[in-house]
Symmetry: C2
């Protein structure tokens, strides 16, 4: 049995991308407490490697932190999509990429202190680049980068997006 | 100049741990859009290594994902605290740890798609364990674990908390 019992649960705020659920919970010591959970659908991260052996990074402006970040393609899984379909879609939309070698590599909780999001990550090899389809709010440029240079950036603190950096480090042993 | 201009900004929901700020922004193409930002204070993660050479993991129940997670001590920086003070405090509260060798190792954005949180990470060596001071909502146990075993868990997908896993991988080259 989980240590917390949920006594009551309400959505207290929502937008098209996520919601906040307020739970009244019973703690193991008998106290009642309020626990707020940012509720989000699952998400995918895709590490794209071209047939030439470059990793394709994107340089994206993030309004949340008012900064430009090196990242890999990522996005939420839409209702009815499989994880692999979502991965192919993000690849296509963010870098115009297609692949015949998409490998599921694992999952993690992206921010378990506040959010229920489960992140899944894929390695995409033999990626062929084409025309991306960015939304107006996706301000980014596309940068095929030699693998050694990507890991130099990663190890020197220049890849500031935690999840992209995590996926790069987790996939490192699987790259030639 | 940043590509997005903020035209208007309001806190639309808040709790003691974070708030949601709704920004009306002007996109580079001239469109207006709504961008919601989860606003949180900065946070610290601390990788504790004992004088005996064990990494101290905690096994914590996370209500957000209704799961038990292997983690390292972490928490928000309180107003008026330095990052190092916050790191010492989390060490003390979560594992009863004290250290005379706390090293700042870097920073990242924990969830830049939705949240402005900046995470800072420290390596704490020579850690001496004592009595922790858990809050009722912090349901966790303390596990000094040989370094090799920790990285076996990390590499085999058993450490599901993305940020703890990231800090472990980033600190690996700095551990004996």
């Amino acid at each position: 049995m989980p240590p917390f019992q949920t006594l009551n649960s309400n959505i207290v705020w929502q937008c098209p991308w996520y919601a906040v659920r307020q739970d009244q919970i019973l703690l193991p010591n008998g106290d009642h407490a309020e626990y707020n959970v940012v509720v989000k659908s699952q998400a995918v991260w895709v590490l794209p490697v071209t047939a030439q052996g470059d990793i394709v990074l994107v340089r994206q402006y993030r309004h949340t932190v008012q900064d430009w970040c090196w990242e890999i393609p990522a996005g939420s899984v839409k209702p009815g999509q499989t994880l692999a379909e979502a991965a192919h879609e993000e690849l296509r939309e963010e870098i115009g990429g297609v692949t015949d070698r998409l490998t599921y590599r694992g999952q993690f909780y992206t921010a378990n202190g506040i959010c229920n999001e489960v992140g899944h990550y894929f390695l995409a090899e033999n990626v062929i680049l084409g025309e991306p389809a960015h939304e107006p709010v996706e301000v980014m440029s596309i940068h095929p980068t030699p693998i050694a240079e990507v890991y130099r950036l990663a190890r020197s603190g220049q890849i500031s997006d935690a999840t992209s950096l995590l996926v790069l480090l987790l996939c490192e042993p699987h790259l030639q």
